[in-house]
């Protein structure tokens, strides 16, 4: 088997995992795979391994269980398929085993899981050792998810983790340095602007609409986005500058949001708490001059020192509004009015 080594899921479907029956064929197949770009990532490495005739495929993973506040082993006798589908259609086929954070995962627990998966004898020991290793890797690498899909049983009766995938917790990158370097150059499913925004410490998600959105606070920005959609508009992005929005952060946010050529109107929604609205207003004007922003801006600026802030903007002919509703509907009307 020739397998593209890329940081995305769904390689098989993308044609980046292919069999070969001779060295010559392996070379041809590898050349094809090397010329591929899988979900945005160019293939730079392939893994060549023994093709295993599998008799049976199972699924095993360890996930962060948000409700129980622990790691949980999820496994199923239905492997090699979309596990979410199994969970929806046959919830009884999913086995869950919660791992105690203080006790850790003991060997007897791994055997219990292997037994529940239907293994006994030597196969049980082998599966138990795979499960144990998955948990060790999860802890060593600060995983959010580690998944073997499929875990296969060969014709000879051996059990092999034929595929392994791990998602590393972004919040752990300060101590997972080897992953940090890699994530600077490429992130699966992240656009160039999204990677750039992350470097600047902004929470930014690119969308396909034309209303650029900047706000302070994740919940507030999500609510702004929902409101734009309710008014039949299309958000171009999600951009959260965070709590204490400094001039510098607002500048980076504007730079990134406006780098998207689809943006036709910019909506800024600031709820000044500790942040003072007059500071924010001055920052916006400053940046507008420096960057020469030409598209229309709708600004909603309320909270601490809101009157001063709104006065500063009014003097520069930038309308600022009091309510989120007004601001969102104004932004959408500027788009549909053809500006």
């Amino acid at each position: 088997m020739i397998k593209a080594q890329v940081l995305v899921a769904g390689r098989g479907k993308a044609g980046a995992i292919k069999p070969a029956s001779s060295p010559e064929e392996a070379q041809r197949v590898a050349q094809t795979i090397f010329s591929m770009t899988v979900k945005g990532e160019k293939v730079a490495k392939v893994l060549v391994e023994e093709q295993l005739a599998s008799r049976y495929e199972r699924y095993v993973s360890i996930v962060v269980d948000r409700g129980s506040k622990c790691y949980t082993i999820l496994c199923s006798t239905e492997g090699g398929v979309d596990i979410e589908q199994v969970a929806t259609l046959h919830p009884e086929k999913i086995i869950r085993y919660r791992i105690d954070a203080l006790l850790g995962l003991q060997e007897f627990e791994c055997r219990t899981v292997a037994k529940q998966l239907g293994y006994s004898g030597q196969q049980m020991s082998k599966v138990a050792s795979i499960v144990s290793k998955l948990y060790q890797i999860m802890l060593q690498c600060d995983g959010e998810l580690i998944e073997s899909n499929p875990l296969i049983e060969t014709e000879a009766g051996d059990v092999v983790a034929a595929d392994l995938r791990i998602l590393v917790d972004d919040n752990s990158l300060f101590r997972q340095k080897k992953f940090l370097e890699r994530s600077k150059t490429f992130e699966p499913d992240m656009s160039e602007l999204e990677i750039k925004a992350r470097e600047k410490g902004l929470a930014f998600v690119e969308l396909d609409g034309d209303v650029g959105i900047i706000g302070n606070g994740a919940g507030l920005v999500m609510a702004t986005l929902d409101m734009i959609i309710d008014y039949k508009g299309k958000p171009a992005n999600f951009c959260d500058v965070g709590g204490g929005a400094s001039e510098e952060r607002i500048a980076s946010a504007l730079e990134i949001v406006l780098a998207n050529p689809r943006v036709k109107v910019l909506l800024i929604n600031i709820m000044g708490g500790i942040t003072r609205c007059d500071d924010v207003a001055r920052a916006i004007l400053d940046i507008q001059k420096k960057m020469g922003i030409t598209i229309p801006m709708v600004i909603r600026l309320v909270g601490t020192n809101e009157k001063e802030g709104q006065k500063i903007l009014a003097a520069a002919n930038i309308p600022s509004l009091n309510s989120m509703e007004e601001a969102a509907s104004k932004a959408v009307s500027l788009i549909s009015g053809g500006i």
């Binding site: 409700g67 994740a218 919940g219 986005l225 708490g273």
Partner: protein, 293 residues
């Protein structure tokens, strides 16, 4: 009456010598919160806004009486600071810090559970009982004492909704953010249980968002217990795409799970009234018996 913090709360600040810690210690003191000590290893003997700083919690407690704590320590050191606060029997422990690895959060929550400690956060604006105690980073002036309990997964959206409640004459008993991370100390259910027992709380405003199933669990609890107090909820993220983190580490739709629609549906079915805009919460809650004066 209120929940978790009040006039008598005496708190120790972890990370009091850092810029965030210093700034918010001043604002909390100005609000009237009793901040009795700070802990920063290596800075014992100093003072911040006349609050004594100690190297360890043990030393702090040899010198002052305290029952609660608030953590401003950067993410790499937050696990240690939080465990020290738990070990010192401080309760609740409010963890403001954003960006703590989920592995550390899992350990913190397990130890807190064994000790019986309530953790608020991580990645929370904190908790406020208006006119009594503010253990957090929220702007104090937008909150007013009253009869509505507020619980949220968000920061500024909480301020937005608290301000609209206050403007509508609806004061609050206690407002708290449970935190925006995937693993946090308190669930909506935990907070609902406390509001249920608090005679001063007559109605509840709930602010949820995409990701996880805390809202669905809350809906189940409300339905099962025939919750006796009216609840109005706003859920952010109806327009969020699947698979993307929307600012908060915990705000992510995985596959088909954790969408705003499933949460809204579950809450509606449980009899919770849904506000489709943040400003509607105050309108839906408004009742002559709840307003001030």
């Amino acid at each position: 009456m209120a929940i978790l913090v009040g006039r008598k709360t005496r708190a120790i600040v972890w990370g009091i010598t850092g810029s965030q810690g210093q700034f918010h210690t001043q604002l909390m003191l100005e609000y009237g919160t009793k901040i009795v000590a700070g802990v920063t290893p290596g800075r014992g003997g100093h003072e911040v806004h006349r609050v004594p700083v100690f190297d360890t919690a043990r030393e702090a407690l040899e010198n002052v009486d305290a029952d609660a704590s608030i953590i401003f320590v950067p993410a790499p050191y937050a696990k240690d600071a939080t465990l020290e606060a738990i070990a010192a029997n401080l309760n609740p422990v409010v963890v403001i810090t954003e960006g703590i690895p989920v592995k550390d959060e899992i350990l913190i929550m397990e130890i807190a559970k064994q000790k019986g400690t309530t953790i608020i956060g991580p990645n929370t604006p904190g908790i406020i009982t208006p006119a009594q105690c503010k253990l957090g980073i929220m702007p104090g002036h937008i909150f007013k004492p009253g009869k509505v309990g507020l619980v949220s997964r968000s920061g500024t959206l909480t301020y937005e909704i608290a301000a609209s409640l206050t403007n509508a004459g609806l004061g609050q008993t206690t407002c708290l953010g449970v935190g925006g991370d995937p693993v946090v100390g308190m669930s909506f259910v935990d907070v609902f249980k406390m509001f249920r027992k608090d005679p001063a709380t007559k109605a509840i405003a709930m602010i949820g968002e995409i990701g996880g199933n805390a809202e669905e669990m809350a809906a189940e609890y409300v339905k099962k217990t025939k919750y006796p107090k009216p609840i109005v909820a706003y859920i952010a993220g109806r327009g969020a795409p699947a698979g993307k983190r929307m600012g908060h580490a915990g705000a992510i739709i995985t596959g088909k799970a954790g969408t705003a629609e499933t949460k809204i549906e579950a809450l509606r079915a449980a009899g919770v009234r849904i506000a489709l805009k943040p400003g509607e919460i105050a309108k839906l809650i408004k009742h002559p018996k709840l307003t001030l004066n």
